[in-house]
């Protein structure tokens, strides 16, 4: 199907963009990373088109549903969100070194997606609801924010070690100053956190409408709460003496690991009400 071809092309573009950003960092060449930005932009166009085509094709098949309902679709949607989120941040903060740490996340997500079933399947009764759109989209935009934040947090930890040793050489020397990275880790989370919150709330509203209970401590629900708690801890850590900086950056990375667990681990390892997400 043509949507899958477009998604495969997007995967290649993400890979090229990651390579360009990493290469630019290694070669200390700003021009290469500027080229990376164009590739990211192209990938955004391709993946958006792919999502649209997939949506259209589902109607052609007489199924007609938003393309965010199984593992394959959620992975490509996640990569799409990370890419857009990154482009916005790159434009706003005018720093392209971030791409070397963020775009590989989008690339490996797409590579993982390619290994999953990409066929368009009809919706099981539990998913036939308008809440699906609001719930899945808000959750994934939130996840994308956390992915970007974790990427920058890794940069922060590398940079902080160098700043402490009062040296500024090699690849790490090219990274933005700690203060700026710390701000970016935070900025990505203050976008991700409200989206995750709305994602959890719409999920609860949907659960209440479908099952008669807005919270049932299902593993997926619980993990989303765990993520929420970790980022809540991050937000408080940042304004507390002795907790901002390094510890906050570690919390951001731990939060993203928990996000991966919530998103993939729960479906692949644990069982529960969200089991259809693993299909």
């Amino acid at each position: 199907m043509s949507n899958v071809i477009l998604f495969n092309l997007t995967t290649v573009l993400f890979g090229v963009a990651s390579a360009l950003y990493l290469g630019a960092l290694y070669a200390k060449n700003e021009k290469i990373s500027a080229f990376g930005t164009w590739v990211c932009f192209l990938a955004a166009v391709f993946s958006t088109a792919a999502l649209g085509v997939r949506w259209y094709e589902s109607y052609q098949m007489g199924i007609g549903r938003i393309p965010v309902t199984n593992l394959y679709e959620s992975l490509v949607f996640f990569a799409w969100s990370v890419n857009l989120f990154y482009l916005v941040i790159e434009r706003k903060y005018r720093n392209r070194t971030l791409g070397a740490f963020v775009m590989p996340i989008a690339f490996f997500t797409m590579v993982f997606a390619v290994y999953n079933d990409s066929s368009i399947q009809p919706l099981v009764p539990a998913l036939q609801s308008y809440w699906l759109h609001a719930h899945v989209i808000t959750c994934f935009v939130g996840y994308a924010g956390f992915a970007v934040s974790a990427g920058v947090a890794v940069m922060y930890l590398l940079k902080a070690r160098q700043e402490n040793a009062k040296i500024s050489e090699g690849v790490v020397g090219l990274l933005p100053a700690c203060k700026m990275l710390d701000e970016l880790v935070y900025r990505a989370i203050i976008w991700g956190f409200p989206f995750l919150t709305v994602g959890i709330i719409t999920g609860a509203a949907w659960a209440n409408y479908a099952w008669g209970t807005y919270w049932s401590w299902d593993p997926k629900e619980t993990w989303s709460l765990i993520i929420w708690l970790i980022y809540a801890a991050f937000l408080h850590a940042r304004v507390t003496r002795g907790w901002h900086g390094k510890r906050a950056a570690i919390l951001s990375i731990v939060g993203f690991l928990a996000t991966i667990m919530c998103y993939l681990g729960v479906n692949l390892v644990l069982s529960g009400l969200h089991s259809y997400g693993g299909g």
């Binding site: 399947q121 009809p122 099981v124 009764p125 539990a126 036939q128 609801s129 809440w131 701000e183 203050i190 956190f193 409200p194 919150t197 709305v198 709330i201 609860a204 509203a205 209440n208 409408y209 479908a210 099952w211 008669g212 209970t213 807005y214 919270w215 401590w217 593993p219 619980t222 993990w223 709460l225 765990i226 708690l229 970790i230 809540a232 801890a233 408080h236 850590a237 304004v239 507390t240 907790w243 928990a258 729960v266 644990l270 069982s271």
Partner: protein, 453 residues
Amino acid sequence: MADEKRTPSPMDRVWDFFISVKLAIVTLIVLASTSILGTIVEQNQPPEKYHQIYEDWAFAIMDRINLFDMYHSTWFLLMLVLFTVNLTCCTIDRFPKMLKVVRNPRTKLDGSLEKSLSLSDRWKKKGTLSEWAGKYAEALSATFAKPKVTEEGGEVHLYAETGVASRFGVYVTHLSIIIIFIGAIAGNVAGFKGYVNITEGESITRVPVRGGIQIQDLGFTVRCNAFSLETYPSGQPKAYKSDLSIIEGGREVVRKTIVVNDPLQYKGIWFYQSSYGQAGGATAQVTVARKDGTPGSTLSLSANEPVPIDGYGIVRGVDYQQNFQGKGPALQVVVEKPGQPAASFWLVQGRPDLDRERGDSLVFSFRGLSSKMFTGLQVAKDPGVNIVWLGCALMVIGLIMAFFLSHQRVWIRLAKGTDGRVEVVLAGSASRNRLAFEKRFEKLQTGVKATGQ
């Protein structure tokens, strides 16, 4: 101050413990990490299942600390209580201080305030204090906010602010959490959740709740008129439908076909499509006709259940085969007439006239098996749910206030300089997103400076 040096009393220490943000961070992390346990150990399963998985000693320990229902265990609830107390104490401690600052802002740009502000500029102007104060007040009103003007000791101070609401964001968010907890408690105390199966054509008035420990009287009757299952051409399920009626005072007051994601609500009690199944064994539908072709009744035969036919005998369905001698579905029937040996024969569904060959006074035709279905309904009443939604809405509003608004303040001080000119100082600060404020301040700076030229 003198009392700062005093050694804190035990009460103060307890208070300081509960108002610390560090406690909040630790509680959040501990809640997050312990919550993982309940996702690894499947919750609320029958004990036999746990015994299959865990050794006896492990089971004993896990059972002891309520790990099989950990989210309702005392220790987990106590952590939530600690979390709530921490939240409440922080609010009690900080909210009045914040309110005081917001209500009585520092409207005068004195030396110490000026030093603490990173964004500032100064210049001189010819003219009078009041003339420039008026011009700058107008400029601030037009581009930022209407300033408050204070005159004191030969100086004029202008103070303007926007986005005060951002200071309240944290408190709205914290309050929302407490409201959600109140809603959850209200639902647990005054509501119920249950599950009931209703066979097609049958009714219920009561529902077992709280895991079957209690029986809840609904105060009305629910009847399942029919259940149906739709599938996609591929065989995957497409819809589960239950046609339900609410009967009150002997009258049908509501009728609705519910599906997953579209429940029925009556008097605050919700009925959700949750499950389905086959009710009891199947019955065989057999039509009876006279030899001359006059149609008679239709029999519903349950397995081995004798059904009498007046003036004829007793009929029983004894066996069923999906594919009888390659002719498709068939029913084996035994007929017992008074004073005669029992006769046994097969009726093939695809050949309704086959029984004529037997030459009996009555001709039987097998019309197929029919089985009654039951629908499984989740039944819930939750009077706290709207409180929970209120809390959720407040939380989103609070987060937006806290993250995306910024309390921005701008001061202008005008004083008569030694050279007779007016000395102007402009300064500003923002509670958050300083990068964005720097840009705004730059614009303001150029705008204000250009005023009156």
